[in-house]
């Protein structure tokens, strides 16, 4: 095949171009290899996960007792602002982009991303953004108006919001946003233009599909947020009056532009997770995903509807059309329901192996279901009026972003770690990690539903010593400590596994998708050869090639 010859030539060139004398640090700092960049994304994001997790422990320490223990109001405001901002913009979004970087080109049989140098640029803006954001601790205090940074609180009209922290917050998010947009351009171009021969759109692995829809959301939503940030920066520093009602501006305008991005961003944070789950569940059930095309269309449906629900964050402003945004919000639960049907039907009658990756995938299914359902409660305006700004909302966001995204991230990490390193993570430590995290997570966040129904407001560092409130808060603090503890077996597992000398098989899980065709870890040029691709499970076809009695094009979703 002509294409294979061309690739081996490219491989020879690549091998020739890399000088063996270069220091490894120089190699990593200057690399444009999507796999190395992907690893850097994962490591950088996980570091920020640790920082933001530490802030969460501080929050829980303060809330363990009524009254002020360790952090006053101002410090507490900074804590939850930085916790939310870091988790969302420096951990969840880049972490999933990191998986995308490493896995997507492998899954579609490409040599690299379409624009490798732009890819490196996207990555390097992220640690820079983190440093800008956290430099505020040295320069007069970080942002303190919540991760949503509502105007006029963030306008600098009041006293505390005038700190330089909010300006640094804006600059950091402009960097993250630019990195995301360039990344989205790169992913979409890669997926449209770099697929291997035979890899039609409807044969792409589901993780790649979700990355495509995610990238479209990022491409079209993030620039609107950029415009909001720019307007806020102008208001704060150049005397603009976009969000300043005293001068003819509109404060609620910020909420509109902010949520026009930040609601699609919710799907940016969960769609790739759904993709990971949809690659993991079939492998450990020994079945194809039930309803491949339904899943793809449900993903596209979530992407499209994602742009029409932003104002459900603003029901209590009294400035939005309640029936429209309420109905659209109920409606967006439907494609997610379709996906739950896909996943559960995949498990039914499968030969299920409860590996750690599978446990985290099932953890995602159950936890994200709870998060989705308690979100649907909030779609109803009367319920929203009662529950908004209470701990119910905190419970909801953590069930979708921790119970959803973080569980999916770990599922993907345990699943693809053999691809990154050639070695499987230890299953015993992995299961200890899973159960500690699962128990700690539910202790912390399930009780927040009850606390929310009891009326405890969020973002407050002090509360009255009502009997149930104190007990529930203490339970949450204990749960948070268990979550923090659960990362110890995980980190120990990674270190021990990387130190192991022996290697596991190239394809330890008997995967279905193309990334398992090449060596683990893959060579710089990814593939020495490519198999013929006739379905969305080319490796399954390869393993069972001798059993095929029908023409390969007639199998599964072979039709274009």
């Amino acid at each position: 095949m002509a294409i294979t010859q061309e690739r081996s030539e490219a491989a020879a060139d690549a091998a020739h171009g890399i000088s063996p004398r270069r220091h490894p640090i120089a190699v990593w700092l200057t690399t444009t290899d999507h796999k190395k960049i992907g690893i850097m994304y994962l490591v950088n994001s996980y570091l920020w996960f640790g920082v933001a997790g530490l802030l969460a422990v501080f929050i829980r320490a303060e809330l363990a007792q009524p009254g002020t223990q360790y952090f006053g109001e101002e410090r507490y405001n900074q804590l939850f602002t930085m916790h939310g901002t870091t988790m969302i913009f420096l951990f969840v979004i880049p972490m999933l982009a990191g998986f995308g970087n490493y896995i997507v080109p492998l899954q579609i049989g490409a040599l690299d991303m379409a624009f490798p140098r732009v890819n490196a640029l996207s990555f390097w803006m992220l640690p820079l953004a983190g440093l800008v954001l956290y430099s505020s601790y040295l320069l007069g205090g970080p942002a303190d108006a919540g991760w949503t940074q509502y105007a006029p609180l963030s306008e600098g009209v009041g006293t505390p919001g005038n700190a330089i922290g909010i300006d640094l917050w804006i600059v950091a998010l402009l960097l993250v946003g630019t990195a995301s947009i360039l990344g989205a351009v790169n992913f979409i171009t890669t997926i449209f233009n770099m697929r291997a021969p035979g890899m039609t759109m409807f044969r792409m692995p589901l993780f790649t599909w979700t990355m495509l829809v995610t990238s479209l959301l990022v491409l079209l939503a993030t620039p609107v947020f950029t415009s909001a940030l720019v307007m806020l920066l102008i208001d704060r520093n150049l005397g603009g009056s976009f969000f300043n009602p005293a001068n003819g501006g509109i404060a609620v305008l910020w909420q509109n532009v902010f949520w026009f991005y930040s609601h699609p961003a919710v799907y940016v944070m969960v769609l790739p997770g759904m993709g990971i789950i949809s690659d993991v569940l079939p492998v450990f059930s020994r079945k194809p995903l039930f309803g491949y095309k339904a899943f793809v269309f449900a993903t596209a449906g979530i992407g499209a509807l994602g742009f029409s629900v932003w104002a459900h964050h603003m029901f209590v402003t009294g400035q939005v059309l309640l029936p429209f945004f309420s109905i659209m919000t109920f409606l967006i639960a439907v494609p997610t329901g379709v996906k739950f049907f896909n996943w559960i039907a995949t498990l039914v009658k499968g030969q299920i192996t409860f590996s750690t990756a599978m446990l985290f995938a099932i953890g995602f299914l159950t936890m994200f279901l709870i998060g989705g359902i308690d979100g649907v409660f909030l779609a109803s305006p009367p319920v929203d009026f009662a529950l908004t700004e209470t701990y119910w909302v905190v419970a909801h966001i953590h069930y979708v972003l921790f119970g959803g995204s973080v569980f999916a991230v770990y599922a993907g990490f345990y699943y693809w770690f053999p691809k990154f390193s050639g070695r499987k993570l230890n299953e015993g430590l992995g299961k200890l990690h899973f159960w500690l995290q699962f128990i700690g997570f539910n202790l912390t966040f399930f009780s927040m539903h009850i606390l929310g129904l009891l009326g405890m407001p969020r973002r407050i560092q002090d509360y009255p010593a009502l009997p149930d409130w104190v007990g529930l808060n203490q339970l949450q603090t204990v749960g948070a400590l268990i979550i923090a503890l659960s990362t110890a077996p995980f980190l120990a597992n990674v270190v021990m596994t990387l130190r192991r000398k022996d290697r596991d098989p190239e394809d330890p899980w008997e995967g279905n998708t193309l990334e398992w065709y090449t060596t683990s870890p893959p060579p710089a040029h990814n593939f020495d050869s490519l198999p013929e691709i006739h379905s969305e499970r080319p490796l399954f076809d390869l393993r069972h090639a001798d059993e095929l009695t029908v023409h390969p094009d007639a199998t599964t979703t072979g039709a274009r």
Binding site: A2, L219, A221, A228, I234, S241
Partner: protein, 204 residues
């Protein structure tokens, strides 16, 4: 950079896997980037219309007069530069490198003229007391036209780079994606201006 005999490359047959009718990665990347830019300006326009629709009087009292005629001249200059840019693209599609350079220089000059015209208008308006901080009209006016102006400047820099590359003979009828990219971007900047011209100057 190694000297590549592009004329010889032109003689080669197209690679086997090249899909006829497909869009090259660099052009697709440019189209996607422009899509994100459209959404960026969409956010600014959205803010403008929201603020405008809630104002009782628009433009607010005390706003200096904006000359639609002057803006129409600027519009003509920018639209003309779009035409010259496209003529440059058509020239290189015929492998006419000399005309490509000519049209690129002309487009660049027109773009710079537009920017100078905008700077003149800014200085006049600032002299009449309208600034970013003078009120909501000033904020929206300078932010929208300012970001557009920055994009014109960026596009002009892009055209300058394309011109320098054209001067060293890097483009041929088959290899000129960068020229096409610059033209896409330039047309996009032009269309944004048409939007600004009609909303800020014409829509009273």
């Amino acid at each position: 950079m190694a000297v590549v005999d592009t004329a010889a490359l032109d003689e080669l047959p197209a690679p086997e896997h090249h899909k006829p009718g497909g869009i090259s990665s660099s052009l697709l990347g440019m189209v996607l980037f422009i899509a994100s830019e459209v959404m960026f300006f969409g956010g600014l326009f959205g803010a403008y219309f929201t603020i405008r629709s809630s104002a009782t009087v628009w433009p607010p009292e005390g706003t200096p007069h904006l000359s639609a005629l002057y803006a129409a001249v600027l519009t003509t200059i920018l639209v003309t530069s779009s035409v010259t840019m496209q003529l440059g693209v058509w020239a290189i599609r015929r492998n006419d490198q000399r005309r490509l350079k000519l049209w690129l220089v002309l487009s660049l000059l027109l773009g710079v003229t537009f920017l100078c015209g905008q700077a003149l208008e800014y200085s006049k308006l600032i002299g009449e007391g309208m600034t970013l901080s003078s009120g909501v009209f000033g904020s929206t006016f300078y932010t929208l036209t300012g970001f557009h102006g920055a994009h014109v400047a960026g596009g002009a820099a892009f055209i300058l780079i394309v011109f320098l590359r054209a001067r060293s003979g890097q483009f041929t009828a088959r290899y000129h994606d960068t020229v096409e990219m610059a033209s896409y971007y330039w047309h996009f900047v032009d269309v944004v201006w048409l939007g600004l011209f009609s909303t800020i100057y014409l829509l009273r």
